[in-house]
């Protein structure tokens, strides 16, 4: 590998970003527009901070413990959800179907026993009584789907641990186990972490287009008759897209803050955001290479890249998805980690945050290797 060649090719890629209007829009202007639009619509600037959602709570807990009450209080204290008590699940479900409420939360019969068992033996998960909170959402409302689950998780964590660190073990499987520091969050706050990942996943399209176009126009062949190696080409693409990704993270962060994003944390948390989004960028470079290996033209590259973009967009950004499905795409872990650190003030050393980072890193390496191999084998001609 030769750095002069790598930098020459990377410089060429960066020039393309600011000289080609379509690419400039996709990489820079689109994330700004998206962040501003979401901030204006769902953030405090758009009045989103004052929105409240009615949730029905069915308390089936039979224990004489105070935990179910504490949990309900935790939900109310967020200021976003208004609790309506129900005696039975069917009445609550009926009201949800009729649109009278936005969600139903069912506190299970062994809820108190579960927390008590944890408090008795916090270090022995085998002795815990496991329980699961039921949650039904109005599927017709993307906002409800985005806002309610994190609030329920936060209230549950607060009930169990108080203000303890998120790294503590849990008696119940909680998808997002970290603490929320702020109690006055807007809908935009819950969506903003997804915007970081949202911008980065479109790198798949730009990389696929870049390689398909260069192949189509004979530029890859032309470069192949110079001393340039495959490593020079791949590394230059990675460097150029990491630079673009860095700019995207900075733009989304600044735009989101300007639109009222209540991000918790300081320099270290922002640095973490850069690192994990750049890993996602690397992963999407791999997806882009795989796409370019399959397609025969740059036009087809645009279309087929959505094979990788859509799942990441729908399952791993600001549209909430259960972990069983969302966990299949790398953007899910990026959004999850950024939600934890920016929204709930989770320490960077907490297991959940570190695990997200490790999963994204592993996925990125695997996908990038697959992309390089696929393009080297099938994509050159």
């Amino acid at each position: 590998m030769n750095m002069q060649r790598v930098l020459a090719l990377a410089g060429k890629e960066l020039r393309k970003v600011y000289r080609e209007p379509a690419l400039l829009f996709m990489v820079i202007i689109f994330p700004i527009m998206l962040t501003v639009a979401f901030g204006a619509t769902f953030g405090a600037l758009g009045g989103g901070g004052d929105s409240k959602y009615a949730v029905g709570v069915v308390n089936l807990d039979k224990s004489a413990t105070p935990w179910a009450g504490a949990f309900k209080k935790g939900i109310s204290d967020t200021g976003v959800l208004v609790v309506n008590d129900y005696q039975d699940n069917s009445t609550a479900a009926k009201d949800l179907l009729q649109g009278n409420i936005d969600a139903v939360i069912v506190i299970p019969a062994d809820f108190g026993a579960s927390i008590e068992s944890f408090r008795l033996n916090p270090g022995d998960p085998g002795s815990w009584v496991n329980s699961t909170i039921g949650l039904s959402l109005d599927k017709g409302s993307m906002i409800v789907s985005a806002v309610v689950p994190p609030i329920v998780q936060r209230a549950l964590s607060t009930t169990i641990y108080g203000d303890e660190a998120a790294s503590a073990p849990q008696p119940v499987r909680i998808g997002d186990p970290t603490m929320v520091a702020s109690s006055q969050l807007s809908q935009f706050d819950y969506m903003a972490p997804g915007l970081f990942a949202y911008a980065a996943i479109f790198i798949t399209m730009t990389v696929a287009q870049a390689f398909a176009t260069e192949r189509e126009q004979g530029l890859l062949r032309r470069i192949a008759v110079t001393p340039t190696t495959s490593s020079d080409i791949f590394v230059s693409q990675i460097l150029a897209n990491l630079a673009t990704g860095t700019l995207q993270v900075a733009i989304v962060y600044v735009a989101a803050r300007l639109m009222g994003f209540h991000a918790v944390g300081g320099v270290a948390e922002v640095a973490y955001a850069f690192v994990i989004v750049l890993l996602l960028v690397t992963c999407n470079i791999g997806f882009g290479l795989i796409t370019a290996s399959i397609v025969k033209s740059s036009g087809a590259a645009t279309g087929l890249s959505f094979l990788f973009i859509l799942p990441q967009m729908l399952l791993g950004t600001f549209v909430p998805a259960p972990q069983s499905v969302g966990g299949l795409v790398p953007s899910y872990y990026v959004t999850d980690a950024l939600t934890s650190i920016f929204l709930r003030g989770a320490p960077l050393t907490s297991p959940a945050v570190l695990l997200d980072l490790a999963i994204v890193a592993a996925m990125s390496i695997a996908v990038l290797i697959a992309g390089v191999l696929a393009f080297s084998r099938f994509g050159r001609s």
Binding site: N2, R5, L7, L9, R15, A224, T226, P227, T228
Partner: protein
């Protein structure tokens, strides 16, 4: 001393033989014209010599290096002007030339000097700061040539370099090619303009259906075939049937 040697070089695509048992040698400093109808195997031969295709059988050496095993060494010696111009439309003419200079590891100060010289030679000084996406067909051909020669190659492969050029630009390009030869470069020129080969080439090889059917100086070929010009020789040897490239 031979700069390019082809020994029973054969290239097949499936059942189709595109280059058939081709053997020839090109001297150092020679300007060699490779002629043939559409689909004769000219571009395939050049692609093998540049490392873009692997031969099916036979051997070829460029600058003393084997095309199968020493392409990395060969790439340092060669400059290739492809038949279809390939350039970055979002870069200016100067940036395109400089980019390929950097890919050849040319030091920065030397690269600027070399780029200036080439842009002047191909008549693109005034258009040097314009993006090549706005260039005319002739200008694109010229910048394509400058990109191919920025590394001052020992061996230049010019695959139909004057297609779509107006007569003035074509003659200027011919002068440029003669200048390269005067500087001792080995040049392999493929062209459909037979008078171009007649005017420029020391020797001409005519290939048809992958086989070498004639090889000599233009004058000797005309004498051998009792023809008034090289185009008549070409038609006599390859026939009047129109060929389609597939």
């Amino acid at each position: 001393m031979l700069d390019i040697e082809l020994d029973s070089l054969t290239k097949k695509f499936g059942e189709k033989t595109v280059v058939d048992n081709l053997s020839l040698g090109i001297e150092k400093g020679e300007l060699f014209g490779l002629l043939g109808p559409n689909g004769a195997g000219k571009t395939t031969t050049i692609k093998i010599l540049c490392g873009l295709l692997e031969p099916t059988s036979g051997a070829a050496r460029v600058g003393g290096h084997d095309v199968r095993t020493e392409m990395h060494e060969i790439r340092k010696l060669i400059g290739v002007c492809p038949q279809e111009p390939a350039h970055y439309t979002f870069l200016t003419g100067r940036e395109n030339v400089e980019l390929f200079g950097r890919l050849h590891n040319i030091p920065k100060d030397l690269l600027k000097e070399k780029t200036d010289e080439l842009l002047e030679t191909v008549g693109l000084v005034e258009a040097a700061s314009i993006k090549t996406g706005k260039y005319s067909g002739g200008m694109i051909r010229r910048v394509n040539l400058a990109m191919a020669l920025v590394n001052d190659p020992t061996i230049a492969f010019l695959d139909e370099p004057t297609v779509a050029m107006d007569p003035q630009t074509r003659h200027a390009t011919w002068d440029f090619i003669r200048g390269l030869k005067a500087r001792g470069k080995t040049i392999i020129l493929t062209t459909h303009y037979i008078e171009e080969a007649e005017s420029l080439a020391d020797r001409v090889g005519i290939i048809d259906m992958g086989r070498l059917i004639a090889l000599d100086t233009p004058r000797a070929l005309m004498e051998q075939n009792g023809a008034a010009n090289l185009e008549d020789v070409f038609i006599k040897l390859t026939g009047r049937k129109i060929r389609e490239e597939t």
